[in-house]
């Protein structure tokens, strides 16, 4: 992996102007670059033997997950702890009937505990924004329905930048269940904001309405879509999609949309392969590729911690300014 850039120590950055991180759509290009640069700094912190800073000492971070996710929750937890924050995990089990009620009630309850930042995941699009309106602290969206997952897009961009040296001039293909993917939406917004060319590749049943009007190229043939790309971003296929209603079967999906050697050969020889995890080996990706040197999937996990440290630092530093 290339060495981190030398843009100075944490603290050299101008104050981050956002109070929350809900959507990539809320960020200006310079703010995205700023967060990536801050994250770059944090990589080295994580690689030190003593991996902790005290920048968030005395701050309270609550991870509020209405939808279970071990990976994302752990990543945010480690990020907060490495910055010295006190981190509390809350998993809220809800029935679909009482979900919304719990959301507003929980927001009021947690707000009274005076946290400095809430990390929220929820199964409904817009839920995190709604919650952010009801609390007095910063809120980070850790995924809201099929809407957005901003830290995933940031960590993906950081991973690409570190492997390719730059984002400029690249072409990124996002393949799979675009219709139901918040990862795809955040990535399309972020890459678009940085003028990276994007493509989406999926069967028509997994493409959302109007996608052709977004600034992206749409392909239904994977080999055609992968031709000449620098980055292949695979998405997880939820098993329930392959029940004959959206997709006939897993094996048909793998045949036409699973990333294997033959399909990948159409991408650039140095193309990297990404996946937000957790992977379904043999469904959307050939295990051999997932474990090959072209796969940067474990780097993504590492960048995830760095990006989340950067986001927490930027948001809470901004709070200190106010």
């Amino acid at each position: 992996m290339p060495q981190v850039t030398s843009s100075g120590r944490a603290g050299d950055f101008p104050p981050f102007q956002q109070r929350h991180l809900i959507s990539i759509a809320d960020l200006q290009q310079h703010e995205i670059v700023d967060l990536l640069d801050r994250a770059e700094q944090m990589i080295s912190v994580s690689r030190q033997e003593r991996k902790s800073l005290a920048t968030l000492a005395g701050k309270t971070q609550i991870n509020l997950f209405f939808e279970p996710s071990t990976r994302t929750q752990s990543s945010f937890e480690i990020a907060g702890k490495r910055l010295g924050a006190m981190v509390v995990n809350m998993s809220v089990k809800t029935s679909s009937v009482t979900k919304g009620e719990t959301l507003i009630d929980t927001a009021a309850t947690l707000n009274a505990m005076r946290p400095d930042v809430l990390i929220v995941r929820h199964s409904a699009a817009g839920a995190v924004e709604l919650l952010a309106q009801k609390v007095g602290c910063s809120v980070v969206n850790a995924g809201d329905g099929a809407h957005e997952h901003p830290t995933q897009a940031l960590l993906d961009a950081l991973t690409i930048r570190n492997h390719k040296g730059t984002l400029a001039g690249l072409t990124v293909a996002i393949c799979g269940d675009i219709a139901n993917s918040r990862v795809a939406r955040s990535n399309l917004l972020l890459l678009g904001a940085l003028n990276v060319r994007t493509r989406v590749i999926a069967p028509k049943t997994l493409l959302p309405a109007g996608i052709e009007n977004l600034a992206t190229e749409v392909f239904t043939d994977m080999e055609e879509g992968l031709r000449g790309v620098d980055v292949v971003m695979m998405l997880r296929l939820q098993h329930e999609r392959a029940n004959g209603k959206m997709i006939p079967s897993v094996r048909e999906y793998y045949r036409f949309y699973g990333l294997d050697e033959a399909k990948l050969s159409h991408a650039k020889p140095d193309a990297i392969v990404m996946h937000p995890g957790p992977m379904n080996r043999g469904v959307e990706i050939d295990p051999a590729i997932a474990d090959s040197e072209r796969s940067v999937i474990t780097d993504q996990v590492e960048m995830g911690v760095a990006v989340r440290m950067a986001v927490l630092d930027a948001l809470l530093a901004a709070r200190n300014e106010q």
């Binding site: 759509a25 679909s96 979900k99 919304g100 009620e101 959301l103 507003i104 929820h122 409904a124 699009a125 817009g126 839920a127 924004e129 709604l130 809201d144 329905g145 099929a146 809407h147 957005e148 918040r182 939406r185 959302p208 309405a209 109007g210 996608i211 009007n213 977004l214």
Partner: protein
């Protein structure tokens, strides 16, 4: 015996006859007893005289689609609060949807509602009866008994009957009693878990879309079955541009079919949802601007017959939710007229056309004597100041619920006085 009432110096606008000229209207015993357009009118002894100062005098509005919380959800809306909201908005009669708890699918309930509304509501409340028991779409209700009890039409309200064979039989049986059959065309499977119009905007918000075909396919089916059975079919509300052309074709062959539209689909579009504003989560959903413009055109050409408020009170508990989980619906009794006048002020629709869709057309469809200013017709009248500026504020709302899609909107035009059966039931005051 009440005093006779003379409204003079009014701009009499009566869409039933196409009248739009200065004149006077005399009201005696709850009925219009004289309309004088070309000369002075004799003032009966002891009459109350109102100088309208050139304001528009129109028939009171007839709103064909209103949801009320009573019985069952009185905290959202009662007959009294809905009636008060209606007359404040210039609505003198409205059809009440059967979507209550219990559902209005029994003659005794229709009778109860009529009596209670008479006692509680300043506006005339016309109960609609369910087509199917419990709005479940499985078994027909007792159409004959419900008609005898006073139901004004049959409808499954916010629900849509999925079974084509049941729908065919229900239409045929309703035709038997010559009753209007009001049905919402919505394919439950195509709607699926969609929550807004299908398209780029839904995709950007990460919300599931409702395709236009969820409306156009059942609409085409309904119209074919209406032709087959001879029923007086009224498409409760349409929203998609393609629905207008389907209606155009059907109307060319069958004069018994009509269509309504919610004022929301004429004034708003999907972009008003902004960032998950749940007061704009409606059924049918707000469509694109192209659809809205096509709906305006359909209204102008008479393909769309009626405009209603689609008043649907919901409390904040069920609205202050993530968009996908929030309830559908918005209140509209108090804003129907002002919102409609927006289209007049913008030059999209002329005054007679817009008022016709809220007065004489619904009256014709429902077989009412009101909805016109004619000798012998009920004196349900409104005085409108077409230019009066006002703002929709939470404080100004008379409805028990606050879920208006015109929150804080600036309006031009307001009802100044509402008369039901010759009695003034609402007067605007600036205080």
């Amino acid at each position: 015996m009440t005093r006779p009432l003379l409204i003079e110096n009014a701009r009499v606008v009566d869409p039933a006859t196409g009248t739009d000229q200065i004149g006077a209207v005399l009201v005696e015993d709850g009925l219009v007893s004289d309309v004088a357009l070309n000369g002075p009118v004799g003032v009966p002894e002891g009459a109350e005289v109102i100088n309208a100062e050139g304001k528009v005098l129109a028939p009171g509005l007839i709103d064909m689609r209103v949801f009320v919380g009573e019985p069952g959800k009185e905290y959202r809306e009662t007959l009294a609060s809905a009636g008060a909201a209606a007359v404040a908005g210039g609505i003198t009669s409205f059809v009440m949807m059967p979507d209550t708890t219990p559902v209005v699918d029994d003659g005794a309930l229709v009778d109860f509602l009529i009596r209670r509304a008479e006692a509680q509501s300043p506006a005339r409340i016309l109960p609609a009866a369910a087509i199917t028991k419990g709005l479940a779409g499985k078994e027909m209700t007792e159409f004959g008994l419900l008609k005898e009890a006073g139901a004004v039409c049959f409808t499954d309200g916010g629900s849509s009957i999925q079974s084509s064979s049941l729908l065919r039989n229900a239409m045929a049986y309703a035709a038997n009693f010559d009753m209007p059959f009001v049905h919402l065309p919505a394919d439950a499977e195509l709607v699926g878990d969609g929550v807004m119009n299908s398209g780029l905007f839904a995709t950007v918000l990460g919300l599931r879309g409702i395709p236009r075909e969820a409306e156009t396919i059942p609409l085409a089916r309904d119209l074919q079955l209406a032709a087959l059975t001879g029923v007086r079919y009224h498409a409760a509300q349409i929203s998609a541009a393609a629905s207008a052309s389907i209606m155009t074709n059907a109307k060319a062959r069958n004069t018994k079919v009509t269509a309504g539209i919610s004022i929301n689909n004429l004034c708003l579009n999907e972009n008003d949802i902004g960032r998950y504003r749940t007061y704009f989560k409606l059924n049918p959903p707000l469509r694109s601007e192209e659809d809205r413009l096509a709906m305006i055109e359909a209204l102008r050409t008479g393909i769309i017959d009626t405009i209603h408020s689609d008043h649907d009170p919901q409390d904040t508990e069920v609205k202050r939710q993530p968009f996908a989980e929030a309830s559908k619906g918005a209140i509209g009794l108090e804003t129907l007229l002002a919102a409609a006048l927006r289209l007049v002020h913008s030059g999209e629709v002329d005054l007679l056309t817009i008022l016709r869709a809220m007065t004489s057309r619904p009256a014709e469809i429902l077989g009412l004597k009101s909805g016109r200013i004619a000798k012998g017709a009920p004196a349900d009248l409104i005085l409108i100041d077409l230019d009066y500026p006002w703002q929709v504020t939470e404080r100004s709302i008379r409805s028990k619920s606050r879920n208006t899609s015109f929150e804080n909107a600036r309006m031009q035009g307001k009802v100044m006085r509402t008369i039901v059966g010759g009695k003034t039931v609402f007067e605007h005051s600036d205080a």
